[in-house]
């Protein structure tokens, strides 16, 4: 029983880490543009697909393929921002409507990837083999450690970035008060760009790190987007800490529901959790009231 629980704990951490990364990107973009970026799942999907393409069609080593895939994600995210999001916001389209338009971007990207790579799930080999390690009696696939480790690294870097650098603090300020930031002459466009680059990095990382355990295909994005939003809303759309808390909670709820009750119920439980949080504490568990 203990081993089983430990096993579940490890899975929950892994799942949760992916959701944390997804939520983190969504929160950053929401804070800077007030747009719900429904395209974030496609960015993650493109990360996974790019990794597949680099590894299987070019033969470059993993250590180069990962940054190259992240670069692809950044390019796609910036294109979506320059070509669609910013021009529409500038034309006075409301941020909620722009959010819906990012669903359109996701649809286009998914269709494009489907045309290029087909519909079948594509395998990506693990970063360091598939022999499970035994830790306290629970056997853990190394890829899980990669996911948790990379997420932890990304989180530490994120927090340092927002606390220590001028750009990070400026981005926080932008999220706190748009009008004031605009009036104080913040380089808003540049900060928007940084937000999208940042979101592409964490989103792409989510797609890349999870590709070996769950395969990848043109269709994985929607699920990641939804899970990311659920995590972000539960934790609080307002802060990176909210993304961390929300992502882990959703990961734990899902894995433990599946492990102890029924895997049919895991999605239902997490969505009910979302509705409960929205009713009781709409600003999210970590959100600030007021």
């Amino acid at each position: 029983m203990l081993e089983y629980t430990l096993q579940l704990l490890a899975s929950a951490l892994t799942e949760g880490s992916i959701y944390v990364l997804m939520a983190l990107g969504l929160v950053i973009i929401y804070r800077s543009t007030e747009v719900l970026y429904f395209n974030q799942g496609s960015i993650a999907m493109i990360g996974g697909i790019s990794l597949y393409a680099f590894l299987n069609h070019t033969g470059i080593p993993l250590a180069i393929a990962i940054p190259a895939s992240l670069a692809v994600c950044i390019v796609v995210a910036l294109l979506s921002q320059w070509l669609v999001v910013l021009p529409l916001l500038a034309r006075g389209v409301s941020s909620l409507n722009v959010s819906i338009i990012t669903i359109g971007i996701a649809m286009i990207l998914e269709t494009a990837v489907m045309m290029l790579f087909g519909k079948d799930p594509l395998p990506v080999s693990s970063f360091s083999g598939d022999d499970p390690l035994t830790i306290f009696g629970a056997s853990i696939v190394p890829q899980h450690l990669w996911i948790v480790g990379l997420t932890a690294l990304a989180l530490v870097l994120t927090l340092l970035f927002f606390k220590k650098t001028w750009t990070g603090r400026a981005m926080t300020g932008l999220g706190d008060n748009h009008l004031l930031a605009r009036a104080s002459g913040f380089p808003i466009k540049r900060l928007f760009t940084y937000s999208f680059i940042f979101a592409a990095l964490v989103g792409g990382l989510a797609g890349i790190a999870s590709a070996p355990i769950s395969y990848t295909s043109y269709a994985v994005g929607t699920r990641l987007t939804i899970k990311g939003f659920v995590a972000a809303a539960v934790g609080g759309m307002g802060s990176p800490v909210g993304a961390l808390v929300g992502g882990l909670i959703i990961g734990f709820f899902e894995v433990f529901t599946a492990g102890f009750i029924s895997s049919n119920l895991k999605d239902l439980i997490t969505i009910l959790l979302l509705l409960l949080v929205l009713k009781l504490r709409p600003e999210g568990l970590m959100g600030e009231r007021g």
Partner: protein, 598 residues
């Protein structure tokens, strides 16, 4: 109304009805007939969403939930409980309306993004419940054997029969949505979408109105779902995924705030994706591309192109003002409230704090009926905060406010509007994208009572209200000398004119007490003098005015009493003469003013 006017005003309906009538006669392919039926269900579903999202700007990502409610309730009640399909549809619609209202209410108090998230969750939950509670809903294998709808013994089982049935629903709901969209409630939705603050100051109960329209849109989707169940006679969870909600939303956003815009969009989108089924795989990409391109070409949706350039004209011209009627008396006669004597407004020790800073500290003064009371003070003295507290946008931290003898300390803005308090704002707060007369007509919101059904069916009462509102708005504009600009979009007017329209909009509320926040800001000397004349004329009609203003010549010339605020404290309350001689006032404010002028 003659046939010619009817045709002229309602021709889109005739075209729609003709199209629906001809479709089954012309189309012989059973495949295309099915496409027509699929479109018909979309067309029904979007009528409510057009009001909710197009007009009121509320985004729902989960209307598939209500579509599923309608379908599953109808299916289960007929298959498991053996109810008549029509009765089942009615129960499904009723249950959905109650549920939708209860669901939406907590979210409507919050920023709109939370409702978007909540509906996203709801759509997912309903889908998962349908899929996983196999005992009740049949899980993935669905509910088979749902009976057809029938009229007496006549069973509606052929596609063409169903198409005509759906057609009747389309025409009914389109008629409703069209009428609501272009009359009093439609204007209220537009006002809420473009400026919620001003909308509530006009007496619009934002949460209640949005709750109703959310509920209506949900019921319409439930009816569509019920029709779906009795048309394909088998339902399973796949029909109720997120994709359905997204498709509805995309149609409504491309269409914008106009039912014809959304209908045309639905024909294009459903038509393309169904007819080119061979390319089914690419239909999502096509949807996405169309959405982006459409919003680049029409940032406000197709509605902006389709809407008549003279919106509001119909109502305004329906009943021209009676000749010889003095506009000013009609304008200002406070609605069925007798003129009071003594104090209309009393503030008792009002304090308001933000964090550690005290924006207002024990402010007390009173205003008598038919007075003009000026409020002056340096920037940041708390003048606008004071108006916001009186108006109900802010609740005081301590103290009490009495209006005409009634305690109103905790009233919210739309309640204050109902009690006869009109308001203008420091920064112009007009409803963008509306014509001048429509803006003023929003001020008459409380003159009408008809809801979605009465307004939608355009019954006599709603029509009379509409004519009266149009009439009153035109009188307001006449009073301000702006009749010539009545049918121009407000953004096209000069700043000075916009300030006047804001005043006109508040006057159209027929207030007893008018709160004006720097009405002369940005006006040149001549315009400010004209404003002074207007204010006196308004007062002559029995309106009491509280005037926050920096323009000293204006305040000093019109005010009976002047209240001086400094750092949130009242330092003087006296006649204009008395205040201008008061040492403390001169030190805190007037002296500084004189310096800055010289």
């Amino acid at each position: 109304m003659g046939i010619a006017t009817l045709v002229k005003r309602r021709w889109p309906f005739l075209v729609l009805a003709a199209m629906i009538f001809c479709f089954p006669l012309v189309i012989k392919s059973s495949f295309l007939m099915r496409v027509g039926l699929v479109w018909a269900l979309f067309a029904i579903s979007i009528t409510g969403m057009t009001l909710l999202t197009g007009h009121a700007g509320v985004v729902s990502l989960g209307h598939s939930a209500f579509y599923a409610f309608g379908a599953y309730l109808s299916a289960l009640l007929t298959v498991r409980a053996g109810l008549n399909p029509w009765l089942a549809m009615l129960i499904a619609a009723g249950t959905t309306s109650v549920f939708a209202y209860l669901f939406s209410v907590p979210f409507l108090k919050l920023r709109r993004v939370y409702l978007a998230m909540g509906t996203l969750g709801l759509g997912e939950v309903v889908f998962l419940v349908a899929k996983n509670t196999t005992d009740v809903t049949g899980g993935v294998s669905g509910v088979p054997g749902i009976p057809y709808l029938s009229l007496g013994r006549f069973v509606l089982s052929h596609d063409w029969q169903l198409f005509y049935l759906f057609g009747i629903f389309i025409i009914l709901f389109v008629f409703l949505a069209e009428n609501v969209g272009r009359t009093r409630l439609g204007r209220a939705y537009h006002a809420i979408r473009t400026n919620e603050t001003a909308a509530s100051a006009m007496g619009i109960d934002v949460q209640w109105e949005l709750g109703k329209v959310f509920c209506f849109s949900a019921v319409v989707c439930a009816v569509a779902g019920s029709l779906l169940a009795h048309f394909i006679t088998f339902i399973s969870p796949e029909s109720f995924t997120l994709d359905y909600s997204f498709a509805l939303l995309i149609i409504v956003i491309i269409g914008g705030a106009n039912i014809w815009g959304t209908l045309v969009t639905s024909i294009v989108l459903v038509g393309f994706s169904e007819v080119f089924r061979v390319f089914q795989d690419f239909s999502m990409g096509f949807y996405g591309l169309l959405l982006i391109v459409a919003l680049f070409v029409f940032p406000d949706g197709l509605a902006a192109v389709l809407s008549s350039k003279r919106r509001g004209a119909a109502a305004a011209e329906a009943s021209p003002p009676a000749p010889g009627r003095d506009t000013a008396t009609v304008l200002a006669g406070p609605r069925d409230r007798g003129h009071g004597e003594g104090k209309i407004l009393e503030l008792n020790g009002i304090s308001k704090r933000y964090g550690g800073t005290e924006a207002l500290s024990r402010v007390s003064f009173s205003v008598e009926y038919n007075q003009i009371v000026g409020i002056i003070g340096p920037n940041g003295a708390g003048k606008t905060t004071l108006l916001n507290v009186i108006n109900g946008f802010l609740t005081p931290w301590e103290g009490s406010i009495t209006l005409a003898g009634v305690d109103v300390t905790r009233k919210v803005p739309h309640e204050m509007a109902r009690m006869g308090v009109g308001r203008t704002f420091q920064l112009t707060n007009l409803f963008k994208g509306m014509t001048v007369v429509e803006n003023v007509m929003v001020g008459c919101h409380l003159d009408g009572e008809s809801g979605i059904l009465a307004g939608g069916l355009n019954v006599g009462r709603a029509r009379r209200e509409e004519a009266e509102i149009g009439n009153r708005a035109m009188e307001s504009l006449e009073f301000l000398g702006l009749t010539g600009r009545a049918f121009d979009i407000v953004e096209s007017l000069s700043f000075g004119e916009q300030r006047l329209i804001e005043l006109g909009r508040a006057l159209a509320m027929r207030p007893e007490l008018l709160l004006l926040d720097e009405p002369a800001a940005g006006l040149n000397t001549a315009e400010a003098e004209r404003l002074g004349v207007l204010l006196r004329r308004i007062r002559e009609q029995g309106v009491t005015i509280v005037l926050v203003e920096h323009n000293m010549p204006l305040v000093m010339s019109v005010s009976d009493m002047v209240y001086v605020l400094d750092f949130g404290r009242g330092i003087a309350f006296d006649t204009a003469d008395g205040v201008s001689r008061n040492e403390e006032v001169i030190r805190a404010y007037l002296g500084q003013e004189v310096r800055s002028v010289s």
